[in-house]
Symmetry: C2
Subunit: 354 residues, 2 copies
């Protein structure tokens, strides 16, 4: 199985290295992997003048799966889009048509203390945000800054076709069928026509899934409910920009964003797997980053793109065991636990797999 | 002083009645008020065929201030926009040019237990979300559902002019000067051109306020930080749609959305004052609603539109005293407190003012 490794910027390389270490440990008595590394993000820009070098994009399209670290930094965000590391990820999502972005949020019992929410509110949380990833205001035309009557005006376009809504709705219902059969669709249908169409199409698709309970929430109310009663949610399906905000809010509930993986899939089953956390340049290269989100992203890759559910489960169980042993990186440290660095955490997971 | 009272739908009328009761109690030894009531929302639609009857809009424009309850219901949200109660509010905001929407979030020490966040995270929270209220994707053209290649397509337009950004930025810096002198501007400048312009203009305006510390956050990160470290925030300024989501998230932090007032102001100092909670039709007419958000909105009205800061402070202190006495409506009830209804809570505040 051929994995494209796009480690990118900031802490991307060091956490991705630990995920590869875990996959190699699995390979000792399981599936075999070939890794090909390629530059992306600021790293891609520095080497080739393009944050998404053509060779990198082609490698990603050819591979069985993409293991992604992080792209972009606050500095490069100030450059024009074509020179921004972060834009490489947007372009790769679009180019590979990775429309279904799954962000599971699971409250690890070992880490309840890391949350800013009360124990009884967060205990047992197990939800998935399914964010549409290739449409919406992220890509809509027209866009830009124009001058009207001597004044600058910023313009972006929110836009969804019924086909785009339908395919992500199907993905949402299917995910709910594999879980507790509850799907909450989030929109702003009381204000936006795009959302009114979103809601209409989701209701049409629901006819094919009579076993799934469908509810609707406005995005502002959904954000409240996530904080108020996160246990009420199973699968949440929403558009690209609302999903960007809601999935970060959901990620924060557990207090351990350093633990959260994600999968972005297209219709051909190809996928890009990345930690929810970003490039965190301030802690890069200091052996401080938590590699578990990247390692758990590798587990999602095994399950969703590589057809290796048993290997995925072994990897997840190894992570649970190192947590149970009390090993903690700084982001999830608590009194009485054992503080370890990025490298030592990766070693511990690999040892569990041996 | 002439106050237009637009009580609207659901629990709007019953909470607004208690706010008027409190204002009348203040009048016994202070400012005098005349109240004129007019229909809006579903109530306006049922009586006149228009959720914002022309006579209501004219009354609001003429009055010294508008005391607003709530408009719309989930039912009327399913009708076309021109028949939706909730749209009356959007139209009135636009018509009166109420561009500056202040939503203070204050963690009442008496109510810390109502939050789903841990005590130490929420204790001392005192922030304001300043949401731009008359621009953005709420009002941008073109918008609608069109057919392209036989497919329905939903379209909305995010749009800000530099003038719109500049005036709300000034309002944000001025508010920060009255408080702890920290302003956090929230956008999505790494993806949206509208946000890139937003950030540029906010930075330009900042030159006039060297005493205010300006920071910037992407909206997804801001939503995280609100949950993670709400104490870090003083004033947050953001656009209409991001403000809609963030202010609800912020409101939920304290766990007592039934306590939170808001003010929407225009450049002429006119304002509309309303509780942050909506019409809550499920508990309407049952004497269950918390009237304190409406009463605290009346206090904001006294301070921001009627030039009566002392009366505002008296009203706020009366609210604090009834809380200290242990009176609680169901939404903020906790063991050992005294459960009261809407009416009794309003009576208690009026008694404190006598
Ligand atoms: C870096 C940024 C462009 C990106 C996004 O907005 O999609 C990030 O926030 C994410 O959620 O993956
Ligand atoms: C009712 C709705 C149109 C409104 C909005 O989105 O502005 C509400 O959510 C609010 O925050 O006042």
């Amino acid at each position: 199985m051929h994995i494209a490794v796009l480690a990118g910027d900031g802490i991307g390389p060091e956490v991705t290295t630990q995920a590869m270490k875990a996959l190699r440990a699995l390979a000792a008595n399981g599936p075999q992997f070939t890794f090909t590394e390629a530059p992306i993000g600021d790293a891609g820009y520095d080497q080739t003048g393009d944050p998404l070098p053509e060779a990198t994009a082609e490698l990603a399209e050819r591979a069985d799966a993409v293991l992604f670290g992080a792209a972009g930094t606050y500095e490069s965000d100030l450059r024009p889009p074509e020179a921004r590391g972060g834009h490489a990820l947007l372009r790769l999502r679009k180019r590979m048509d990775l429309f279904a972005n799954f962000r599971p949020v699971f409250a690890f019992p070992e880490l309840i203390g890391a949350s800013t929410l009360r124990r009884e509110v967060i205990e047992g949380v197990d939800l998935v945000v399914l964010r549409e990833l290739t449409g919406d205001i992220y890509f809509g035309q027209p866009r830009g800054i124009v001058t009207e009557d001597g004044e600058r005006v910023g313009i972006n376009t929110m836009r969804y076709t019924e086909g785009e809504i339908r395919r992500v709705a199907h993905a949402g219902f299917k995910a709910a069928q594999q879980r507790r059969r509850k799907l909450c669709s989030v929109d702003k249908a009381n204000v936006l026509e795009t959302s009114a169409l979103w809601r209409e199409v989701v209701i049409e698709v629901a006819r094919d899934y009579p076993d799934v309970e469908l509810t609707h929430q406005y995005v502002d109310a959904a954000c409240m409910l996530l904080i108020r009663r996160p246990l009420d949610f199973d699968v949440i399906v929403t558009g690209n920009i609302f999903g960007d905000i809601l999935s970060d809010a959901a990620a924060m509930l557990t207090g351990s964003i350093g633990m959260l993986p994600s999968a972005s899939l297209n219709a051909r089953g190809q996928g890009l797997f990345e930690p929810v956390h970003g490039s965190a340049p301030d802690i890069a290269g200091k052996d401080l980053a938590n590699p578990l989100a990247s390692i758990l992203s590798a587990a999602m890759m095994l399950r969703h793109s590589l057809g290796q559910p048993e290997a995925a489960t072994r990897l997840e169980q190894a992570v649970r065991r190192v947590l149970a042993e009390g090993l903690r990186t700084p982001d999830i440290m608590e009194p009485g636990a054992t503080l370890v660095g990025t490298e030592a955490m990766g070693d511990a997971v690999a040892r569990e797999l041996a």
